[in-house]
């Protein structure tokens, strides 16, 4: 341990919900997208799942909203260091979409991609079992564009760069293919509880 002379830090508030190296952003919700926020209307939004699946499928806004709604209430964690507690997202469980396309038994990973071309890779297991959503709403209101509206992927148990804004689709694969930040040195999985920030962590 390399103690920094004279550094005390902010008062310790023991919080079991805070992963290692994170701080509580409280009311802030920083925006860190690397690209221009797209002007994407719900009527122009589509979501497609293809690749190693039995039946590739594309949903438009109404078709996606016709699926059973599901919400997430809990915490989110950004690789830059902030965590936000008690967020409330509304949308549809990703299981509902995956049940329609039926991934092959050989499928292991997915590339999530945005309408901007941004990508993030995820193990398929992290997208199933009630742990991932397509989110349309935050705090009961339409998801703001700068936070990925009209629709974003939500995978709150991983660092938030995996939760692709302006989600356009999932491409299902039998191997891992690095996405936008992963090609820029970030970790392939990004589990905040194991502090998997960068490749090699």
């Amino acid at each position: 341990m390399h103690v920094t002379r004279g550094f005390t830090g902010r008062p310790r508030v023991p919080d079991a919900g805070l992963p290692p190296g994170q701080y509580d952003a409280k009311d802030d919700w920083p925006v860190l997208s690397a690209e221009v926020t797209p002007d994407l209307a719900p009527a122009d939004w589509t979501f497609r799942i293809d690749g190693l699946v039995a039946e590739p499928h594309t949903w438009d806004w109404d078709a996606a909203h016709a699926l059973p709604s599901s919400s997430y209430e809990g915490d989110i964690h950004c690789v830059t260091g902030w965590s936000k507690f008690g967020t409330r997202f509304g949308g549809v469980s990703l299981d509902a979409f995956l049940d329609v396309v039926r991934p092959h038994a050989t499928a292991t990973h997915a590339v999530a991609y945005a309408h901007t071309g941004y990508t993030a890779n995820l193990p398929l297991a992290d997208l199933r079992g009630g742990r991932a959503w397509i989110a349309f709403a935050y705090d009961g209101k339409p998801l703001p564009a700068e936070h990925g509206g009209p629709a974003r992927l939500l995978v709150p148990h991983l660092y938030f760069w995996k939760s692709t804004k302006w989600i356009a689709g999932l491409h299902i694969l039998d191997h891992d293919e690095p996405g936008f930040w992963e090609r820029n040195g970030y970790h392939a999985r990004g589990n905040p509880w194991e502090e998997q920030r960068y490749a090699g962590d």
Binding site: R10, E35, V36, H171, F180, A199
Partner: protein
């Protein structure tokens, strides 16, 4: 030194082509950098503190094993308290790559900021902290393409690394810097800015200089004098500023896939 690799449009023959999203590609391609240094924490020794503005100072460190960086990259820094409590932050690197074995960070004194507060009130030469990096190749500028740099407040920091790099290497590639500050006394690096720079003052300005927010009228002349091949635009600042500046660029005709944004947060 870092190796510069732009993403190939075609994959090597023996490897299956990676998945490319069937979308209008708005995210600019990667500028590849070495990733070996990123996972290793190194000791950085503070050697000098220079006041830039009433709220901003530059901190110079000796990092003997620093692997080098590209202008625009950032690092992660950590401070450790006696009880083991650790605070980590990402900061843009202000110095150019050729400053062998040394790096400089320029930090705002954030109200109640536990890390910036330590730097501005406790730190003195000889203090040791830990850093890892350089990180991310997305906002990097290798000096290989005309660059239009737009920043506000301490958003000028990574852009200054680019301006300094161009000067240090006597590069002929065009660079323009449009920088927004509240007033002349808040303009970071004011003494260093040259003819490539246009300051925009939002609250107070010297006599005869207009006061106001960055506007289309500031961006239009820069896009009108576009070099062959066009500008690569780099925008850095708060999210509100980045949204505003990127909208001005898009409205002025800058392609979205040639706008790279670094937002603070």
């Amino acid at each position: 030194m870092t190796e510069i690799v732009t993403v190939p449009t075609t994959a090597p023959r023996t490897v299956p082509a990676p998945f490319t999203p069937p979308t209008r590609f708005a995210v600019p391609g990667r500028i590849g950098v070495s990733e070996q240094a990123a996972s290793m924490w190194q000791t950085a020794t503070l050697t000098e503190i220079r006041r830039e503005t009433p709220r901003v100072s530059t901190f110079r460190f000796a990092v003997p094993a620093w692997a080098g960086h590209l202008p625009g990259q950032h690092l992660m820094l950590r401070l450790t308290a006696e009880d083991g409590y650790v605070a980590q932050r990402h900061y843009s690197i202000a110095s150019p790559p050729d400053d062998t074995g040394h790096i400089e960070l320029t930090l705002d004194h954030v109200e109640d900021g536990e890390v910036s507060g330590w730097f501005h009130t406790v730190a003195r030469p000889g203090d040791r902290i830990e850093v890892r990096g350089p990180l991310s190749g997305f906002f990097a500028w290798p000096g290989d393409r005309p660059a239009l740099l737009i920043g506000a407040g301490s958003g000028v920091v990574p852009l200054m690394s680019m301006v300094r790099h161009r000067r240090a290497r006597s590069l002929s590639v065009p660079v323009r810097l449009l920088v927004s500050a509240r007033g002349p006394e808040d303009l970071i690096y004011a003494r260093e800015l040259g003819p490539e720079t246009t300051p925009v003052f939002t609250r107070r300005a010297p006599a005869g200089v207009p006061v106001g927010r960055m506007a289309a009228a500031h961006v239009a002349p820069l896009l009108a004098e576009q070099p062959p091949g066009g500008w690569e635009a780099y925008v850095c600042g708060s999210n509100a500023f980045a949204e505003h500046a990127s909208r001005l660029l898009v409205e002025a005709g800058q392609p979205v896939d040639r706008i790279r944004i670094e937002r603070f947060g």
